[in-house]
């Protein structure tokens, strides 16, 4: 069976670099409909295994495509059984896809992960696993644990506010998780104008220097994976895919 692997959706038509090949070294082509094109790897025999090397190859390819113009990255492993089906998706989701292309044009994504450099007094201090000797001791432990978590969250929120003060003006959109893990006060994605890339990096660097107790991991710029809206609610719903 022939599968068609979809890498990205672009505005209009673009000229792909001649040497650009798919993750299985397959030739690439454009399926164009109503002012948008899907970059498709033809004749892929089966959906690819999600090996790290292939996932990274997918990312490199999408990054290359995004250098050619406004691009919506497509989730790894997205295959369709026929080009007619892809065209049907285009027609059904035209407005959402087109709006995303306009909104995300010229923008890139950065990821910022913040860790405590050393375990704070409040992080990693899980409650004793030894059974409580009495109801009063149990309640005391619960209270201690509650207070510890509250202190940790307050510290994490201070980190979030401090970082927001530094970079929020540069972010067209952002997604934040405050204290997703005890070791991690903040995990965030930022949508930034490509022209502001250097300034964004500089501000993160400043934030890192000013907060020596934190380890700040900046990754990107990437195509705006986290900021496409044409995903779960619309397209996945069309196929009755599991809502994650």
């Amino acid at each position: 069976m022939i599968w068609y692997y979809v890498y990205a959706i672009v505005q209009g038509t673009i000229s792909l670099p001649n040497d650009l090949r798919g993750i299985a070294n397959e030739p690439l082509s454009l399926l164009t409909s109503r002012g948008m094109s899907a970059v498709v790897g033809a004749a892929v025999q089966e959906p690819p295994e999600p090996r790290a090397a292939l996932v990274l190859a997918h990312h490199r390819l999408v990054s290359k495509i995004s250098e050619c113009g406004a691009t919506l990255p497509v989730q790894f492993g997205s295959t369709v059984r026929s080009l007619e089906r892809l065209e049907h998706i285009f027609n059904e989701q035209y407005e959402t896809l087109y709006d995303d292309l306009i909104r995300l044009a010229g923008k890139v994504e950065f990821g910022v992960t913040v860790l405590w450099k050393q375990s704070t007094d409040d992080a990693g201090g899980q409650a004793s696993v030894k059974p409580a000797a009495s109801g009063a001791e149990y309640m005391r432990r619960r209270l201690t644990e509650y207070q510890r978590e509250k202190r940790l969250r307050t510290k994490a929120e201070a980190v979030q506010e401090s970082l927001a003060a530094e970079v929020s003006k540069l972010a067209a959109e952002l997604e934040e998780q405050v204290l997703p893990r005890e070791e991690m006060p903040l995990r965030a994605s930022y949508l930034v104008e490509a022209k502001d890339t250097d300034e964004f990096r500089r501000r993160i660097e400043q934030f890192s220097e000013r907060n020596g107790e934190l380890e700040v991991v900046l990754v990107g710029p990437w195509p705006p994976y986290s900021f496409v809206t044409s995903r779960r609610d619309d397209i996945a719903g069309m196929f009755g895919a599991k809502n994650r």
Binding site: R51, T79, R187, K242
Partner: protein, 86 residues
Amino acid sequence: MDELSPQSRDIALVELLDRVLDKGVIISGDITISVADVDLIYLGLRVLLTTPDKLESQARRSTDGEGSDDLVLRVRDRAGNDIPPE
């Protein structure tokens, strides 16, 4: 910024894998990808503070011991049935 620690380098890799596997336009209803019954939205957080070796062995266990020199996640169809690796 200071030189990244090994842990930070792992985080950078996992953050990227998390985006490419779990974000972006969903264009296909043909397959969904999951790691050992954990939705991919949690992939980054679940493996974030582990080492690549552990990550790899974790991934291998999830494919019933299939040997590989690369990270292999699990591919399922919409009915939840495993699609075996080639």
